[in-house]
């Protein structure tokens, strides 16, 4: 191809700093540089990204502190946008917002503090993987096709032709054996020439990885959290937001979902959150045992830790890095859950950078392109038919993003824009948190658009018509909520007995079903079948006791029934003892009810 070069427009590989202002640096002599290209800034070669170009001046946001930087220092171009390194070895890593393993950073820095200018690759270079070829010499391979596999813990890690490849006929496929990620495992020859493929490749984090088609999500993402699975379910490939002011239990809920969700791979992005909390996660995650495989959960997780005191631009990048990892595992035909805590910190990072670039602010100082950014993140969730000429596999990425609205006010821009792009919304409520009602998901303000497709799922998985119980329970809770309003004014004693029975039934659902203790050995995870049977009994409670009220049994007698305690405590019963405990609780309830009935008749 012919290149047209104008006067004084020769490309240069090294520019020169002309301005330093916090994390924003400007450099001239940068002709040919591209937006979003990664550059190495200053003598210390700090990582930076080009965010604006005018003439031969490029404005760069630097991912590390710029103290000590001077005008005139060099800026080196790399020609590549911010990319994630993908390949075997990713699982089990704890990375910073730029994909650098934090353990390696500690080794390089020689201490507990993160110093700057450290360069370490994401994937271990010395580790060997046992490669089993799946393609043969002479096969025509296109992006997504599987060349071979390696076992990474319990996960079969597929080595695929990367999406950026031109494809071609396999001239060489490595025989079964042990290789490092740097060794060539296949050579393709195609229209674009010869191409050596290694076990790892790089992918620009801001560009979604391609797939064949997007499918309708219809499979429940089981989290074992009753209020979520039953009332506001998430699905594999779904997008969920969980907004809540501080102290409403956002992080605990996210941790629970990450721990228990029935996904193959979990990517957790700690974005601008507390260091100690991150440490808690780093301590507990490796100790968790996967209920399905009996192996450590960490073996199928990737954790990204960008705490609030780490550089702001890296915080903005961390979310995209995380979602790129998630898509990579999706492309292997796996189900992935990505949890991000918190997307508000990410949006604020965006605001901070925008204000440093002196862009005109929109709502509450956020840049006008905030909604586009939020959409571009949540739109990367989905259940898809994966790439590859010989593959008919489905993979998914579910995104669960925490939102930390300032002042707990859901009308702020991040919450509002997020609501538009998600399929489920778990609204955390300060009042519930005050009552130590956890998870503090408000059943009147939350929603899930995924309910529709799930009736059949519940029927086939548990044999119960869960959606019917759900509707009944919701109606009861709604009625109770308006009765509580009345009671707040006139006192509970002034309500009719029938109304007080509604309150009692609702209270049973709240205490016995909605409240779930994340730290209780049994209660922390509730399997779907147990959820369905529990809710069935609780929703039948009102119908069972209504005749007593009608017959004139005083409410105080009903409230004093001993069997209520057994019902409330059903959640603490281990699944294997559950059926007998349930039968016993129900027969005790019925026995007590009939004796009360007999008393009032006598």
């Amino acid at each position: 191809m012919q290149r047209i070069v104008g006067e004084g427009e020769e490309e240069t590989a090294v520019g020169r700093i002309i301005q330093v202002k916090g994390p924003v640096v400007a450099a001239d002599r940068m002709r040919g540089a591209k937006i979003r290209e990664i550059v190495r800034v200053g003598e210390e070669e700090l990582i930076g990204e080009i965010v604006r170009i005018r003439g031969d001046v490029a404005v760069i946001q630097v991912y590390e502190p710029t103290s000590g930087m001077r005008v005139g220092e060099p800026v080196k171009r790399t020609g590549e946008p911010l990319s994630a390194e993908l390949g075997p070895g990713l699982l089990g890593l704890v990375l910073d917002g730029l994909g650098r393993p934090l353990k390696r950073i500690a080794e390089e820095a020689g201490g507990p503090f993160i110093t700057r200018g450290i360069e370490v690759p994401t994937l271990p270079r010395d580790k060997v993987w046992h490669f089993v070829p799946k393609a043969s010499q002479g096969d025509a391979l296109t992006p997504g096709d599987v060349i071979g596999t390696v076992m990474e813990g319990a996960i079969e890690h597929k080595i695929m032709v990367p999406p950026g490849s031109a494809g071609g006929r396999a001239e060489y496929v490595a025989p079964e054996g042990d290789y490092t990620v740097e060794e060539v495992v296949a050579t393709l020859s195609g229209p674009g020439g010869r191409e050596d493929l290694k076990m790892h490749h790089r992918w620009p984090v801001r560009i979604p990885r391609p797939f064949k088609e997007k499918l309708d999500p219809s499979e429940l993402l089981v989290t074992g959290q009753r209020v979520i699975d039953t009332f506001f379910p998430a699905v594999k490939g779904g997008a969920v937001a969980i907004p809540g002011g501080f102290g409403t239990g956002k992080t605990v809920t996210l941790h629970q979902v990450s721990k228990w969700a029935d996904a193959d791979v979990v990517v957790y992005v700690g974005c601008g959150e507390r260091g100690n909390e991150m440490t808690d996660l780093l301590h507990t995650f490796p100790k968790l045992v996967d209920p399905k495989t009996g192996r450590p959960l960490m073996e199928r997780s990737v954790l990204i830790a960008n705490t609030s005191n780490m550089p702001v631009p890296a915080r903005e990048a961390s979310i995209f890095i995380g979602v790129t990892y998630a898509e990579y595992f999706r492309d292997m035909g796996l189900h992935v859950v990505l949890t991000a805590d918190s997307t508000s910190r990410w949006a604020e990072a965006l605001r901070e950078l925008s204000s440093r670039l002196e862009e005109i602010p929109s709502e509450r100082g956020f840049p006008a392109y905030l909604p586009d950014f939020i959409a571009s993140f949540y739109e990367r969730a989905g259940r898809v038919r994966v790439l590859g000429s010989n593959r008919d596999e489905v993979g998914s990425v579910a995104i669960i993003g925490a939102v930390s609205p300032s002042g707990g006010d859901f009308n702020e821009p991040v919450t509002q824009h997020t609501m538009r792009y998600v399929g489920a919304f778990w609204a955390l409520d300060k009042d519930l948190a005050f009552k130590r009602h956890f998870p503090a998901i408000n059943w009147l303000r939350s929603f899930s658009k995924y309910l529709e497709g799930l009736r059949n799922w519940w029927l086939s998985e548990t044999g119960q018509d869960m959606m019917e119980y759900r509707d009944k329970a919701m109606a009861l809770l709604q009625r109770a909520s308006s009765l509580e309003e009345v009671a707040r004014v006139v006192g509970e004693a002034a309500l009719s007995d029938e109304n007080r029975l509604v309150l009692l039934a609702a209270e049973l659902i709240k205490e016995g079903f909605l409240v779930q203790n994340a730290y209780h050995e049994v209660d922390t995870f509730c399997p779907p079948r147990k959820q369905a049977l529990m809710l069935k009994v609780f929703t039948e409670f009102y119908d069972r006791l209504r005749p007593l009220v009608d017959a004139g049994v005083p409410m105080s007698a009903i409230q004093g029934m001993k069997s209520l305690g057994a019902l409330r405590r059903l959640k603490f019963v281990p699944p294997e003892e559950f059926d007998s405990a349930l039968d016993e609780a129900v027969s005790r309830l019925e026995a007590e009810a009939s004796s009360l009935m007999a008393e009032v008749r006598a």
Binding site: R70, G275, E348
Partner: protein, 467 residues
């Protein structure tokens, strides 16, 4: 001792509030410290905010009165540093780390960048050692652990200084010998408040184990930005180099944020909520996140920032952003204070996020969590009954509501309220809790397991000594 090499330049073009704009200088590097000298021999400390190919913007620490375009600027080539060694104990410094107690300069073991560096999250040790403060409301309901950052959300006129000094005086980790120190940063405080802290530290003999950094209300506003940073640099040295358990008190963070806003306005930055800069969250995080413990090192930094909420508004950006970074908050309440309850801690909006791992068997007592949960929800119920009384009068309450009303009253007067000098061991705190819980019928005790009831409920077990 401040003999630092560097080149001196003339060429100031403009002075605007705390900002000085001068011509471009090849040596100037971002964030370095400069010294500015006027012709009549006065000296200022400043920091480079921006370097470009035609100008250098400097922020002066202190008042710029008397500074003019003929002043000289000397570049030191390094960021603001604090000299550290064990000699800092017992000393008093200003907000830039210069001794103001008339003593000699500190013989430095090392001079450290006051901005510190982020702790690698994989190198942190998770805080899980219970700190007994001897204050029932805190120990029982909002347990503090070593390495936690737990702010006091207060308002002007509330006794937050007393609460902070009582904690500083009484806090121990049960069963552990310790080397402890207090680092105190006064940010824009009134003189009498500083005097109060000094006197109290002296009274309980902690002055020799304290380091004081004072930026008083009439000291330069800009120095409020550096005060917490120099204090934390000292704390990091004592904790992570010398293995001491350091309690850092930062007061008043509201003044810090005001200074940040003032500076941001002077820089003509685009403001965010209520005029505070958009980077306030990251800025506060760079202070608060310096608390913690580090793997393989004995010391710890436990941080207690105090902030007075403007207008008592919890959703104001200062408490709001703080709450998102810190591990909970202790909320002081005007209403409780007016009713003569000291410490006026309202446990309902208060929280300690690290409590769950610092309490229970082997740490405090096995029933602790259940007791705290039950007390919390019952108190919540009681305050609701109290609201109801205002609408329908006490006569309109049900029996159950009346019980909760009584619970709330005794919770406040017997559990929360205690003397400034009173130190209650955790055992005593939990026993008082049980005494109040036993007001409620057992069917209401839904947060407590049968096993715990059997073992600890006063009506079930024979009372043991004291009570």
């Amino acid at each position: 001792m401040s003999q630092i090499y560097g080149l001196t330049y003339r060429g100031i073009k403009a002075v605007k509030g705390p900002l000085v704009v001068m011509r471009s200088v090849p040596e100037a590097s971002y964030d370095e410290v400069v010294r500015v000298y006027s012709e009549d021999g006065r000296e200022w400390l400043g920091q480079v905010l921006e370097v470009t190919s035609d100008s250098t913007v400097i922020q002066i620490l202190g008042d710029t009165e008397g500074l003019d375009v003929s002043s000289l600027v000397k570049f030191t080539g390094e960021p603001l540093r604090l000299p550290v060694s064990m000699e800092i104990l017992g000393r008093v410094f200003n907000g830039s780390g210069v001794p103001i107690d008339g003593g000699p300069p500190v013989r430095a073991e090392e001079r450290r960048d006051i901005n510190g560096a982020p702790i690698n999250p994989t190198m942190r040790d998770y805080p899980d050692e219970f700190v007994e403060t001897g204050i029932s409301a805190i120990d029982g309901m909002l347990s503090l652990v070593r390495g936690q950052k737990l702010p006091i959300f207060s308002e002007s006129g509330l006794p937050h200084n007393h609460v902070a000094t009582q904690i500083a005086r009484q806090a121990i980790v049960p069963g552990k010998e310790e080397r402890f120190a207090i680092v105190f940063a006064a940010i824009g405080l009134k003189h009498d408040e500083v005097l109060f802290f000094r006197r109290e530290f002296e009274k309980f003999g902690a002055l020799s184990r304290s380091v004081l950094f004072l930026n008083l209300a009439n000291d330069p506003v800009i120095e409020r930005i550096t005060t917490p940073r120099v204090a934390l640099t000292a704390a990091e040295y004592l904790a992570f180099d010398q293995g001491m358990d350091v309690l850092v008190i930062l007061t008043d963070m509201t003044n810090y944020c005001e200074a940040l806003r003032e500076l941001s306005a002077a820089r003509e930055e685009v403001p965010s909520r209520k005029g505070y800069p958009g980077y306030m969250y990251s800025d506060l995080a760079s202070i608060y996140e310096r608390a913690g413990r580090i793997k393989g090192r004995p010391g710890s930094i436990t941080m207690m920032p105090i902030l007075t909420m403007p207008g008592g508004d919890l959703t104001h950006p200062i408490p709001d952003l703080t709450g998102y970074i810190t591990e909970g908050q202790i909320f002081l309440d005007f209403d409780l204070n007016n009713r003569g309850i000291y410490p006026p801690i309202n446990v309902l909006p208060s929280l300690s996020r690290l409590m769950k791992d610092g309490i229970g068997r082997g740490k405090t007592r096995e029933d602790h969590k259940e007791v705290a949960d039950q007390m919390y929800s019952a108190y919540k119920e009681g305050t609701r009954a109290r609201e109801l009384v205002q609408i329908i009068g006490e006569a309109g309450l049900s029996e159950r509501e009346r019980t909760y009303l009584e619970f709330a009253k005794r919770f406040e007067t017997e559990f929360v309220a205690q003397g400034y000098k009173e130190r209650r061991p955790i055992e005593e705190t939990l026993n008082i809790a049980w005494r109040i819980i036993s007001l409620l019928p057992e069917t209401e005790l839904t947060r407590i397991s049968d096993r715990t009831l059997e073992k600890y409920h006063p009506r079930r077990k024979p009372p043991t000594g004291g009570e």
